[in-house]
Amino acid sequence: MSPSQILSLRGVSKFFGGVQAVLDVYLDVLEGEMLGLIGPNGAGKSTLAKLILGSLKPSTGKVFFGGRDITGLSRRERAGLGIAGTNQFPRVFSSLTLRENLEISLKSGGGKHLFESVAEVAELLGLSGLLEAQASSLSHGQRRLLEIGMALVSGSRLLVLDEPSQGLTGGEVERLASILTGLSSKRLSVILIDHRVDFVKSLSGRVGVMSKGRMVALGPAGDKGVADVIEEVYLRGLDAGD
């Protein structure tokens, strides 16, 4: 039996005033897969992430999750279904300790949990020694890892990571890669948005390429056609959608 779709975007567009941030995107994400999403700055990747997470509502089009139309659901309601995400700029509760940040996320009641305890996740993040540290004292990279950990423990079925490698040190990027690789054993779907093309291609099964709000290519990470579009979009700055 082939894995079923967990998320479907059907002709989703988002306009800000007259600007088209996302244009007529169709996308299916399968259960348990890691889907990479790349494209130059301003391609609409972050907007697409917000449309999936529910912090933005599409101007047109529909969003389905597990076969159910969730277009009208709020960010919180979607969290309740198990849709979690991280932000382009990491957001954690800075007055609370790392442990408290994870505890709040662990008990947020988003269905079944992927992790049993805070200690287990901290171990995975490589932050066990900092559990009692206040989040405001963490480095940028540590905050980013913490936010990923919070998304993981909040009981996810779908994880949307927006630029998770940005601002991380070399060691932290490796840690991030090994965390993401380790997730393949859990039945969790991940949308990985990042500007590091090689990083995304090495981790993802399929890769989508966005340019000027459109999804201009989507296929296996090793696919020659996809690689050509990536090259075209990045190197020549062409609008492959026209």
């Binding site: 997470l53 969290a79 509760f93 800075s94 505890e103 709040i104 909040s154």
Partner: protein, 316 residues
């Protein structure tokens, strides 16, 4: 500071207040008893402002709801101080739920404006029905309606006032101490730090804010009810705007530690105001100057700066 040290610091001031009681002169007893009641109000305000980041300018209404609820009950229903205390707390709880329902729907400066308007509405209502409430002049309650009365065969008035205030303060401090260690307290702080993020983790932040408002209302109402039942007086002055803004000053003066800050700040501000009463035009001017000074100081106190920024900025 670790948990144990924090606990010791938290309860040290009430412990000192209990120990020095036998050697206090009469005026100090009177003064400190009043300040302890006001500190209960300060703790209530801190739950709303310092924990949840909501800059309310309408808490005088919650204090006054407790005061009128208790005081008017003894006048028009039954001169039984314990049921009057319950009535006061219930009235404050009801009013804080109404105000909370409103404030969980708005953000930034609008929360401040709406709480101010709601409190002013209650103040005007109290003035309008001055035949019942006594208006600005107020009403003096019967002696047998006070909490002090049942103890009068054994204790003098000022002694029993001090005792009641101290016991209430200890309960209030214990409550805030437990809250700040609890999961609910952590969630309140998370609301203050990043409401949107908490919402994105699946929490209903509107409910949390309402709960915080209600808890804050119970504290404020208890203080108001005790004000009526210990000093046998109710008056619309307590519903006025000055009584709403003073706790802001207490909390900011008291410092970042919510377990002791409100008590410390309330004591400090009232001691200064009391000392300066002779020199300047009194209390109001001290509060006014204090607010201007603390606004300047907030630029250097990062916790106060963050708190103010969170509670007055527009959500965009």
């Amino acid at each position: 500071m670790n948990g144990l040290a924090r606990t010791i610091v938290t309860f040290s001031i009430p412990a000192v207040l209990a120990c020095i009681y036998p050697i206090l002169p009469e005026y100090a007893k009177f003064f400190l008893a009043r300040v302890m009641i006001l500190s209960v109000y300060a703790y209530g305000y801190a739950i709303c402002f310092q924990m949840l980041g909501m800059l309310s300018l309408g808490h005088a209404a919650l204090f006054a709801a407790g005061m009128y609820g208790a005081g008017l009950y003894t006048i028009y229903a039954s001169p039984s101080p314990l049921s009057a205390l319950l009535m006061g707390v219930a009235a404050a709880l009801a009013f804080s739920l109404a105000m909370g329902l409103l404030s969980t729907r708005v953000g930034g400066p609008f929360l401040t404006i709406t709480t101010l308007l709601a409190a002013q509405a209650l103040y005007l209502v109290a003035l309008h029905f001055n035949e019942i409430t006594g208006g600005e002049q107020g009403i003096v309650l019967g002696r047998e309606a006070t909490l002090v009365w049942p103890l009068s065969p054994w204790l003098g008035e000022s002694d029993s006032r001090y005792l009641f205030s101290l016991v209430t303060l200890v309960i209030a401090v214990t409550g805030v101490w437990a809250l700040s260690r609890s999961r609910l307290g952590k969630l309140f702080i998370a609301v203050r730090d990043d409401e949107e993020k908490l919402e994105s983790l699946g929490y209903n932040t509107a409910t949390l804010k309402l709960l915080g408002f209600a808890l804050s209302g119970v504290y404020s109402g208890t203080a108001g009810a005790l004000q009526a039942l210990l000093y046998s007086y109710v008056g619309a002055g307590y519903a006025g705007i000055l009584n709403s803004v003073e706790p802001v000053l207490w909390v900011l003066v008291g410092g970042p530690l919510i377990q002791v800050g409100p008590l410390l700040g309330c004591m400090l501000v009232n001691i200064i105001a009391d000392l300066a009463r002779g020199m300047l035009r009194g209390h109001v001017l001290i509060v006014g100057l204090g607010l201007v000074l603390i606004a300047f100081a907030a630029g250097r106190l990062s916790w106060a700066y963050r708190l103010l920024r969170r509670s007055t900025g527009l959500v965009s």
